[in-house]
Symmetry: C2
Subunit: 104 residues, 2 copies
């Protein structure tokens, strides 16, 4: 997944809260819906966006759908942020060196 796709899925307060909830363990759709005063249909749609982006996987046992986090997106997004930050820190370092050279 691209960073934009991963972030677009998290870029909604309800979905970010669902990922927070799932980080404490698997949950059913109705457990995910409960804190948000939303319909199950609305909760299913949000979960669908998280599934499509790779954050969540669904498993059905009987009539209950259990959702859990997938590990991959955490690594992907953390890696992207770390790499960008490293680039940027070294770019700042080079800028600092140039400014130092320009001083009398």
């Amino acid at each position: 997944m691209t960073v934009a796709v991963l972030c677009a899925a998290l870029g909604d307060p309800t979905r970010a809260a669902m990922v927070e909830r799932l980080s404490r363990g698997p949950a059913s759709i109705s457990e995910l819906a409960a804190p948000h005063a939303m319909t199950l249909t609305a909760a299913r749609k949000h979960v669908g966006v998280l599934v499509d982006a790779g954050w969540v996987e669904r498993r059905k046992r009987g009539r209950v759908v259990t959702c859990r986090l997938r590990p991959e997106p955490f690594g992907e997004l953390e890696g992207w942020l770390t790499d960008r930050r490293a680039f940027w820190t070294s770019a700042l370092g080079r800028l600092g060196a140039v400014l130092d050279e320009e001083q009398p």
Copy 2:
């Protein structure tokens, strides 16, 4: 900023690419627009979203607006991901322990 606000700003391929570009050093609006075949007006709007979310700061020198990354969002988002991943790993650990206990 909340994670949802930070992610909503990155949740667009053009804006994610602009942050990638800025991680290699400061750039003007026209430099940011160049790889995307977009108008300066469209580029300014994307930059405005990144500024509002805290990813980018703008500085004006004469007629040129220079954009650069701000460090804070990297720390915020990395911290959130690390904490969620830690929660989730320990939740998995607890689940594993429960499963082990249930085995004969």
